[in-house]
Symmetry: C2
Subunit: 139 residues, 2 copies
């Protein structure tokens, strides 16, 4: 895969969600999606990594806006683990996580690695939106 091809791909991807392919968004796309493995992050860590090298600076407000836009568009998934801080995941498929309370890091658990053989029915009028497990681990 060649970088320029990726760029074109991201332009398509953004356009298809009615998001203009700005240089900020493309930079964030390259950073987030041009990788082999799942990436888990907070806005704070993403901001640091995006603005580490001396290229064009992306403002913190734009990082927030973009993460929100990408989540709405289905390119990112929000993972609820930690109180007071939002975590995001480039793996948008349904899957589970380990959450390390020490390092505060998430690790994927493939969906098939956890089997829920008994699940309660939700209260009437309500349906299950999501059944992903977060297993808290520590030393």
């Amino acid at each position: 895969m060649i970088i320029s091809n990726n760029l074109k791909m991201y332009v398509q991807k953004l356009r298809s969600s009615n998001l203009r392919p700005t240089k900020q968004r493309l930079k964030i796309c390259q950073f987030l999606f041009n990788r082999e493995k799942t990436f888990h992050f907070t806005v704070e860590t993403l901001n640091k990594k995006i603005n580490k090298n001396k290229g064009m600076k992306v403002s913190l407000a734009t990082i927030y806006n973009t993460v929100e836009a990408f989540t709405s568009a289905g390119y990112l998934k929000e993972i609820l683990t930690s109180k007071n801080k939002s975590y995001y995941d480039t793996n948008t498929k349904s899957h589970h996580h380990f959450y390390d309370e020490g390092s505060k890091e998430l690790t994927d658990i493939h969906y098939s690695q956890i089997k829920l053989s008994k699940v309660p029915t939700p209260p009437k009028g309500k349906k299950i939106k999501n059944l992903e497990v977060v297993i808290r681990i520590q030393k």
Copy 2:
């Protein structure tokens, strides 16, 4: 059960955890623990309910301090559900929850109501701290 007996009980309970039985703490104990069913709350809702009636006012700082002290003492459990807001539970036994994204309310699921027939081993050097499931529900 008579209120005055409860009061004595809470005095014991607090003393046994090296917490002085102040009138603020006893008021919060009465409110939280003198009830049949599990109570789920945030600091915001607890503060409102404690200070609704025209009795002695308990400051927000004390609500925070007390919830923290009771959680450390094992009288309350923190439930991680919502980003950016801490939820607490008077049911300190290991159990699961429904979390309604609309009403933002928690409902207990008894531990036996969910069966995890396959659970991955944690990364080496790490152990599972907690395996409680939060099932997100919506209309």
